[in-house]
């Protein structure tokens, strides 16, 4: 009974947050003279109207699953990896570079090579932050923010001066390196949905097994809960901090590979850090860091963002979606207050019960 009620309560916060976010969006639409029903209806059509739209929803959710998982692994170790954007970009660069260097290697070899290269590149970029944190106690938040910008400028430099001659984008990768697959293309009404979705789903299982069923996962989690007790029990806090960042970065790197080899098929000049980084963080927070939650939140983000593209058809700027997403994360952030309110309501309904958190 008590286990069930905590389960319901753990579900209540994200559900209430999503509803409150959507409600705020509706209020803003009303305030500016739009019809929120019409607006959200357009969003639903934009997300589910044709198989193309559904394909795009899952296409957008794919990298978010990976970055979301990446964020959750780091946060299990007590780390706040705000550098998912930069790590994903590292993976993107590595995979495109490799794909451009060996365009004629058979697909069966080239694609796994690119994915591994992307994961290693992402892990490397995150590993620097992990190492500095473990060795010098430097805040991983600040370090990863700085690293996001460093790689952003390096990436633009590589596109402009190394991978091309002063162009804004690299050439398209060869079909051998592409993650796109004909059956997905036909199935999803010619959307950009690609094999990356299977990679993401596989990683959901892998990360779950790793974190819940292996010693490595146990050590990472216990270091996150109490580094001193873990040290006392013979685990190395330093080693696990670095390890958690490496895994986190590898997952983010794979998200970048999916963008590079799946969605865009090239690398281009970017004006700001990749959105998939910050959205992945939001997905993980909303999903409570567990795999099913992350999957559902990533799909929800896909629905909001792809559906939002249809909102201008009824005159509503698509930016309303960003406001809704920010609001959802705000409500997740103040979950303490939401739980407090829920408890108040529960208490006033029945006799007070103590000792439940």
């Amino acid at each position: 009974m008590s286990k069930r009620s905590t389960f319901i309560k753990s579900l209540a916060v994200p559900v209430i947050s999503v509803l409150a976010g959507l409600l705020l969006g509706a209020m803003i639409m009303l305030a500016f003279g739009y019809d929120p029903v019409e607006g959200y209806n357009a969003m639903l059509i934009g997300a589910f109207g044709r198989s193309y739209n559904v394909g795009e929803v899952f296409r957008l959710a794919t990298p978010l699953i990976l970055t979301g998982l990446g964020f959750s692994v780091a946060s299990r170790a007590g780390l706040f990896n705000i550098g998912l954007s930069g790590q994903a970009l590292c993976g993107w660069i590595a995979s495109i570079w490799l794909a451009m260097t060996f365009p004629d290697v058979p697909k069966i070899l080239l694609v796994p090579m690119c994915i591994i290269a992307g994961a290693v590149a992402g892990a490397f970029w995150a590993g620097i932050a992990g190492f500095l944190r473990a060795q010098f106690g430097t805040s991983e938040v600040i370090v990863t923010i700085m690293m996001n910008y460093i790689i952003l400028y390096i990436s633009n430099y590589l596109v402009r001066s190394v991978l091309t001659k002063n162009a804004d984008a690299t050439t398209q990768i060869s079909a051998n390196a592409s993650l796109r697959a004909n059956f997905l293309y036909e199935l999803s009404g010619h959307s950009r949905l690609n094999m990356g979705i299977f990679l993401a789903l596989a990683m959901l299982v892998v990360v779950w097994v790793l974190m819940k069923r292996t010693t490595t996962g146990f050590e990472i989690r216990s270091v996150g809960i109490n580094p001193f007790a873990s040290e006392y029990a013979g685990m190395s806090a330093k080693k696990n901090i670095v390890l958690a960042m490496l895994i986190s970065g590898a997952l983010a790197g794979m998200a970048g590979v999916v963008e590079g080899l799946g969605t865009f098929q090239n690398l281009y000049i970017l004006n700001s850090s990749l959105e998939i980084g910050f959205d992945g963080m939001a997905v993980s927070l909303l999903g409570g860091g567990n795999p099913i939650g992350i999957l559902l939140s990533a799909v929800l983000f896909g629905i909001l963002k792809i559906g939002g593209l249809k909102m201008p058809s009824v005159g509503i700027p698509k930016e309303i979606v960003e406001i809704v997403i920010a609001a959802i994360i705000f409500f997740i952030g103040i979950s303490y207050a939401i739980r407090f309110l829920l408890d108040k309501i529960a208490v006033s309904k029945k006799a007070p019960k103590k000792g439940e958190v």
């Binding site: 010098f136 106690g137 430097t138 700085m146 910008y149 004006n271 960003e322 406001i323 207050a337």
Partner: protein, 317 residues
Amino acid sequence: MVEVLSIIVSSALVYSAPLIFTALGGTFSERSGVVNVGLEGIMTVGAFSATVFNLFTASTFGSWTPWLSLLFGGLIGVVFSLIHAVATVNLRADHIVSGTVVNLMAPGLTIFLTKMIFDGHGQSDLIKERFGKFSFPFLKDIPIIGEIFFKDTSAPAYVAILVAVIAYFIIFKTKFGLRLRSVGENPQAADTLGINVYGMKYAGVLISGLLGGIGGAVVVQSISGQFSVSTIAGQGFISMAAMIFGKWNPIYVMGAAIFFGLSQSLAVIGNTIPLINQLEPVWLQVAPYVLTLLVLVLFIGRSQGPKANGQVYVKSK
């Protein structure tokens, strides 16, 4: 030579002005123990509101418009930073999560409003009244030094430097500053001494809203000339870096901000300057971030910042 130096100095000042304001804002917030990664979002909101104010009142206020827009941008920055204050101080939100919300919210909200105001366009019209070049009377006539530092230079940058000096006095020489710092170092102890911990934290965050908003307003009115989604692209985070680089001391923070401004401006105007034009601009672009990392590792190491920075303080009953 003097001419080249004068170009370098004046453009460095143009680019450092917003960084100085915003980094000082961050310093106030973190001195009170509230980490503010939302500076970027606050700058965005300040930039947007200053643009709108400038466009709609330029005909009334004439050449005073940029300064009034600056204040307006700061004011809206204060209002926007309330989100961060309420979430972190009263509602016990994680500071990083709340700051990220501020950063996610700002571009969505401002572009939405931009589309409302400017007939569906994603960027504003060009503002008419900008911070032009400013020459100090008398000082500009000093040989060489006057030419380099005081002729055709950026007025907001000198205001920012003045604000840095004032901020130093406030933080280190006043009762308010002592209280602010004590709340950032040890809120429990401050609380037992009867200091209003929550009030101090609010003050810290709202001042960061004011200065961050002003910072954003400076970007629009002395660099970009209009507001779009890419007007504020990283300046908030560079400011944060400057705050750390300057070890949370307003004077050093200002120095760091000027240094980063120099590096940013050289990346833009570098191709006209001998020696610098041999350098790939990418090195100048990443320099502030790499240097901040080095400083963090080499000189600061563990917790040189306020001790209770980033922790939620729950007042015991």
